[in-house]
Symmetry: C2
């Protein structure tokens, strides 16, 4: 049974999850599969690039953020996925050895009109490194089941 439902994410709710330490090997392995640009794959080429050294693909940062959130609360929640992200900002490079945390802030919520057993949570995720500096900021629209509606016909709650 999920511990967290839509009602547990009210506007203003703040929480922090992590840490996840990312290695050079992981950065290169993700890049080799999905984003084989030299700055994500090779130390020497990365030093000569605009980022000045090996750094994770922005999509790897997103995947790491998802893992931190999954372990932090999503797997314990009545999550129904997400419709998208109104914004992703890659603020600073994610480097080998970085210990990453994610700070969650709920911005806004509403009940679905077409599926009253479901609610939307508009949240902002700030990924921070060990020096507490933001490396990425993501806003997203999560969908969660409302408490007490499980297994009942839509709208019965």
């Amino acid at each position: 049974m999920p511990k967290y439902y839509w009602e547990d994410f009210a506007p203003g709710h703040v929480a922090e999850y992590g840490a996840y330490e990312v290695s050079a090997e992981e950065i290169k392995a993700f890049a080799a599969e999905f984003d084989p640009q030299p700055m994500h794959l090779d130390e020497e080429a990365a030093r000569a690039s605009i980022v000045g050294g090996l750094c994770a693909s922005g999509w790897h940062s997103c995947a790491i953020m998802m893992r931190i959130l999954a372990d932090g609360f999503v797997l314990d929640s009545a999550s129904m996925g997400a419709t998208g992200c109104p914004e992703i900002k890659w603020i600073a490079p994610v480097r080998p050895g970085d210990r990453l945390r994610v700070r969650v802030k709920v911005l806004d919520t509403r009940v679905s009109r077409s599926r009253p057993e479901m609610g939307f949570v508009n949240a902002r995720f700030d990924m921070l490194n060990a020096a507490d500096l933001p490396v990425m900021s993501v806003t997203t629209n999560m969908m969660l089941e409302r408490r007490g509606t499980s297994g009942e016909p839509a709208g019965a709650a």
Copy 2:
């Protein structure tokens, strides 16, 4: 030497890249590492979920899109990365066996004020399945070197 520079991505430029065929094994492997929600990890649990069957993590879709674009043009370009994505929309589930393509449309471009050897390209990426239905839409701000500026001091071109 790169084949493509900022100048090659004028507003209105359209191109299409792919296909990339995604397997159930890849969907589950990505999920196990980054997004271990049942709908991405287990056929039976996925059938009981809102998406009605196994589907790729939205972040896996983003990573696949990046791979299609890297092979399509990014690795042949004077890419300097990206600052973020003003929007990601997960429109439809990505299923095992889906053959994915990405349609690129350049929306807007400008030269960087602080780094005149660089330009920005605001583009829209629509990821389509074999039935030509959009599964994801992403807008992004790419940074590319301007032609003829390589190795010269900033602003010399």
